[in-house]
Amino acid sequence: MNTFDWAIQLVYVASATCFVLGLHLMNTPATARRGNQVSTGGMIVALLATFVLMIHIGGVTAAGWAVMIAGALIGAAAGLYTARTVQMTAMPQLVSVFNAVGGGAAALVAIHDYVSSVSAGHVAEVTTVTTFLDVVIGSVTFSGSIIAAGKLQGMINGAPITFPGSRFVNIAVAVIAVGASIYLITTPNVWVLVIVILAALAFGVTMVLPIGGADMPVVISLLNAFTGTAVAMAGFVINNWALIIAGALVGASGGILTKLMADAMNRSLRNIMIGGFGTGDTGAAAVAGPGGDVRSIAADDAAIQLAYAQKVIIVPGYGLAAAQAQHQVGELASVLEDRGIDVSYAIHPVAGRMPGHMNVLLAEANVPYPLLKEMDEINPEFPRTDVALVIGANDVINPAARRPGTAISGMPILDVDKAKSVIVIKRSMATGYAGIDNELYVDPKTSMFFADAKTALTELTAAVKTLVA
């Protein structure tokens, strides 16, 4: 190793330090922006060092420079445009698309390395193992993330898509991808590499298609972990520490979020991957309630309850995000706060369509983050709460989770049933993702406000304003 290589590696270590510091600063909302800036700084330095390294190595053809720079500029422009214009409700799709391109780029790094090693007549064995891990994981992430983004965007049916033998096809392509990779380790052949790529792409598609829309928070987290792993493998292939460290950090992040999401939904990862059960995306079904009387309420009566409460907790769920009613809920809350009512928000870990999605939607609606409470923090406050206003949440507030023997037993829930009274805004009595009736809806202290979240909140805000005027 000469002095130049030393310098470049040290710059990569400095960049990796910036990435870790950047993630560390995300431990509070107040420092998170600085964290993103530190991380960006590390990235710029690493890319500049790579640029210098390219010049130092030399031998880059004019066409090589041209395609690399043109590609980077086009990609950067596309990234900048989508990042500037995306709606916050569409954030899960965007994260999926970034996962797809990141995984795809990682796979391409290994594909190029393999193809050029074969044509140069040397394929080191240690490199090929990580090469195929990179190609397979990167390709799976690429196609899987595109399907996930398509489902989230509504371009592909969000319901689990299965066909006779779909499990078999899924397993078959996995066997082909792994088998062909093992064959390639002993026998270099570029055409077999094409089979590996196609089989891995097919596996990504057949892996995500059977997964229902409500499981998307887990799937996105998992694909994020995959992308990180693919990038780390690309780092092994080209022996670059910056890629290895960055990929490992992302892999860890995706892994933690996958576990948190799966736990919050009370489902094992295996269960989700097998899929084919339920979906949170289905529209309102016929009104068919559980046993017991359901008390329906109109905007005026609900407004009276809210306007004369001292403490209100708003429980936003998937339905709020689906109806894009985050601005309406923010407006209602500020009207109540102007009356001196203590308003806070109880956020279940899987509210929304990706980890933490609801918090971003509410932040966008100008809700200050100290009002957004995590489940463990807010649960002790429900007994002191006059009105819990539930908007489009279902399974995460079902008291049946506390009893054994139900589909959601053991799932962590928000203790909404402990509030003095409960108003539920929901389109119908349709069951949630778990497919079981919600006991809270027939509780005597619960009133149901049957409407779309956006309409209901607009009416409620108007009614409260009239009342206090």
């Binding site: 640029f51 900048l80 391409l108 960055a246 933490g356």
Partner: protein, 114 residues
């Protein structure tokens, strides 16, 4: 087994452990920006994509270099910009209503969280 591979594996394992340690302290409120920030960090694959161009000397190599650079650049630029955009919305106190319009367009520098 080469010692370079052993070093790489050591770095990989230790980085995963550091990742677990740092990321488990991020509050649930910030999980979406966290995932987006992680997304930008794996945009470092752009460094790998750039290095493809060093050895590319035929049509296939150029195509791979082009597509990889485009993908990775989209990842890294889009990731950082959208993370910044999200984090800017997290405020300790609500902003006055006349600032909302400016914030909605993303032009305002005001209201940064304390």
């Amino acid at each position: 087994m080469t010692s370079a591979l052993l070093t790489d594996i050591t770095i990989f394992v230790l980085a995963i452990l550091v990742g677990f340690e740092v990321i488990s302290k991020v509050p649930a409120t910030l999980h979406t920006p966290l995932m987006s920030a992680a997304n930008s960090i794996h945009g470092i694959v752009l460094a790998g994509a750039m290095l493809i161009a060093v050895t590319a000397n035929d049509v296939l190599g150029y195509v791979l270099a082009f597509v990889a650079a485009a993908f990775a650049a989209m990842n890294v630029v889009g990731g950082y910009v959208v993370t910044g955009r999200m984090l800017k919305m997290f405020r300790r106190r609500p902003v006055a209503s006349d600032q909302k319009q400016a914030l909605a367009t993303g032009d305002s520098q005001t209201g940064a969280a304390a």
